[in-house]
């Protein structure tokens, strides 16, 4: 008899539908007179989406991850990027998928590569600005390109000066958008988009916070398919509504009724970085031992916003309602957007040092009551793989057993599934001393 009740998420199909619609809209955009833009998951989509008329974006990382989930497709696209464009094999795996898609003139969701009307990108790691700079070059160099910098300092050092730096660039971005599209940014749309962004970011964090419950209502494998909507278009009203009015209430209900993600939860694990997308079955394998991955900085904060409260705890960033704020005008909207991202997106903290990452992950390990940690040393993404070995030391110093395995989020040539399962078996049966609870 299972330890806890379990069931799938009621809002699961809605998440799938939103994701499918996003890519369909992008494909169909020209047929509807809509604009298309390329950017990053962190691109402040609230702004281009505030242009007059219909606008649809394609964010590079989720697109790269979608290809990564299909090893055969991923190898073909990456070999195109490496062989035909000539790039190195150890570059960001998403990027190689993306470039390969363009080189082959294919869209992973069917048809030819859909040409964008403009690029609106932001930059923090080594790769982001260059990714679409080169993508533009591969396509012929004719797509208007804009990129702004969000590397303004760690979350606890953000003040007016840092916010001004980003906001001033955003104004430049607005000038750029209006010039190249010959459309105006509509302030009412911008204000609503920023409000939606806050809802998406804060309510995703609130849903993640609920995973502190025992049993955990969500497992990380499921959470991957939920946060992704925020990487597509967190400023969209339907996505904000999904997080605030569908997912969050449902997760609260699961906690109240002790509905578990994994019926035989007996070991809670802290993860890190993206998983190897083509091998998510590894999580189902862990579940046979009652192991549930309940938390990771990556899953929580790729789109979620957080803060450290006065008691030193990691808590969701306050929504606009909780802060008692009504957005007044364009400037207010841009400032709030910049502030939320710079202060709340703790995923950016490791860019400023290992101590930041260690502080956050050890808080997560304690608050989410983790028993162990399994870290995917992700060769596919330097940004999310920062300080992972320091994290291992820090979590071991908390007294938790930690296992690492090398892999790649979206390059199956760099992931040895058989070997990884051997390591998992060793860690799970030996170090954790667990026996199988399910088949």
């Amino acid at each position: 008899m299972a330890k806890y009740k379990t069931k799938g998420l009621d809002c699961w199909n809605r998440a799938k539908e939103l994701r499918a619609r996003y890519y369909e809209d992008y494909k169909e955009a020209p047929n509807r007179g809509a604009l298309r833009w390329e950017g990053g998951a962190w691109s402040f989509d609230a702004i281009p989406q505030a242009l007059e008329g219909e606008v649809h974006g394609l964010t590079e990382e989720p697109y790269g991850a979608s290809i990564g989930a299909d090893p055969a497709l991923q190898v073909r696209y990456q070999e195109a990027a490496e062989g035909k464009w000539g790039c190195a094999r150890d570059l960001c795996a998403y990027l190689r998928n993306y470039w390969g898609s363009i080189v082959l003139n294919e869209f992973a969701f069917g048809g030819e590569w859909p040409k964008a009307d403009f690029i609106f990108q932001n930059h923090i790691c080594c790769t982001h600005a260059k990714w679409l700079q080169v993508a533009d070059e591969i396509e012929g160099g004719n797509i208007p390109y804009f990129c702004f910098d969000v590397g303004a300092g760690a979350y606890d050092k953000i003040g007016e000066r840092q916010i001004n730096y980003v906001v001033e660039q955003l104004y430049d971005g607005i000038d750029f958008l209006e010039k190249v599209t010959k459309r105006k940014i509509v302030d009412e749309k911008l204000i609503q988009n920023v409000k939606n962004t806050y809802d998406s970011a804060c309510y995703w964090a609130k849903a993640c916070e609920l995973n502190q419950a025992i049993p955990a209502p969500l497992d990380e494998k499921t959470m991957f398919s939920l946060y992704v909507l925020g990487t597509l278009e967190k400023s969209h009203k339907d996505i904000a509504h999904f997080y605030k009015d569908e997912l969050y209430p449902e997760v609260k209900d699961r906690v109240a009724n002790k509905i578990a993600a994994v019926a035989d939860e007996q070991c809670r694990v802290l993860g890190d970085s993206q998983p190897p997308w083509g091998f998510l079955r590894v999580f189902r394998y862990l579940e046979k031992y009652g192991i549930v991955s309940v938390a990771s900085l990556y899953t929580f904060s790729l789109i979620g916003w957080w803060k450290i409260d006065k008691a030193g705890k990691l808590v969701p960033y306050p929504t606009l309602e909780e802060q008692g704020i009504t957005i007044k005008d364009r400037d207010h909207a841009l400032r709030l957007l910049a502030e939320g991202e710079l202060k709340g997106k703790l995923m950016w903290a490791p860019f400023y040092g290992a101590k930041y990452k260690n502080d956050i992950v050890t808080k997560i390990a304690k608050q989410w009551k983790c028993d162990a940690s399994i870290i995917h040393l992700n060769r596919g993404c330097e940004g999310t793989a920062q300080h992972q070995m320091e994290m291992k030391i820090a979590v071991q110093n908390l007294g938790l057993p930690v296992m690492t395995f090398e892999g790649n989020m979206a390059d199956e040539r760099e992931f040895d599934e058989g070997r990884t399962k051997r390591f998992i078996d060793l860690f799970v049966t030996e170090t954790l001393g667990l026996k199988k609870v399910a088949d």
Partner: protein, 276 residues
């Protein structure tokens, strides 16, 4: 109680049969292409050496990268776990194990009871394995068994610049053309692997006593290089390549029967939940 441990590695099979902790037989041989068959044949030899019949053995536990292929085993334990059980039996003061075989180098931190607390593997690089020694010995035109003796004659250290096993081979050829004495080249080869292995070992932390096992532990030249690199004493038990098998036999005697891990490739799962 009579138990058997069968360690099926990438290159060799090692088998130990014990009775109440005493070793009755010890047999090793190449794995070849058909690992299951190699295990069967060598097991038959081991039984013969011990003067036993199959039914005399109460429990058989397999281990090693191809342990699951031993169809007649009662159970399988992870290789690092087998290492831990074997080492702690021979050297109770052991706390860090370094196991370098033909295709993998690993470091294991163990508790006083022989439980695996942490491990680190030299992932995806032949430059930290026994294969590197084999390859370099061919380039030096020296039998691999002679590499140890040769390197122990060297009195100086030459850095090997190539970090990669493939380049390493042609670097050895370059050193030969430069008339570098063979002992110095052999030592350089060992120093290079020792560097790689010690960096893996440092991931788990170096707590005394450090014990080295696996086939490459028989290469005393390499062991000297490793001691120099670690800056500490390294113990090597007799028959270090049989320690994994001994550990598996010990686990069998203790009645530890882990469920066999399926060796077949898992069918690609249709990911209905949506791709992130």
């Amino acid at each position: 109680m009579i138990s058997a441990g069968i360690d099926v590695g990438g290159k060799n099979v090692h088998i130990v049969i014990t009775k109440n902790g005493t070793i009755l037989a010890r047999v090793g041989g190449p794995t070849g292409i058909n690992k299951a068959e190699a295990a069967e044949q060598l097991y038959a030899e081991a039984l013969k050496q011990a003067g036993l019949k199959r039914e005399d053995v109460t429990q058989v536990v397999a281990t090693g990268s191809s342990g699951p292929r031993v169809t007649f085993a009662n159970g399988v334990i992870p290789d690092a776990a087998a290492d831990a059980r074997g080492v702690i039996k021979l050297i109770p003061s052991a706390r860090t194990i370094i196991d370098v075989g033909a295709e993998e180098g690993r470091a294991i931190k163990i508790s006083p009871e022989g439980k695996v607390l942490d491990f680190a593997i030299n992932e995806r690089c032949a430059a930290g394995t026994g294969t590197f020694v084999d390859t370099m010995s061919r380039a030096l035109e020296v039998p691999v068994e002679e590499m140890a003796k040769l390197s122990l004659k060297s009195t100086r250290s030459i850095p090997m610049n190539a970090q990669c096993a493939v380049f390493g081979e042609s670097e050895v050829v370059s050193l030969i053309h430069q008339k570098t004495p063979k002992p110095d080249i052999a030592r350089a080869v060992h120093d290079a692997i020792a560097g790689r292995i010690s960096s893996v070992a440092r991931i788990v932390g170096l707590e005394k006593d450090v014990v080295m096992i696996g086939g490459v532990a028989k290469n005393l030249g390499f062991v000297e290089s490793l001691k120099r690199d670690l800056g500490m004493e390294v113990k090597v038990p007799d028959d270090p390549d049989f320690v994994g098998a001994l550990g598996a036999a010990t686990a069998a005697a203790a009645g530890v029967l882990e469920e066999k891990v399926e060796a077949k490739v898992v069918e690609k799962e249709k990911i209905e939940e949506g791709k992130a």
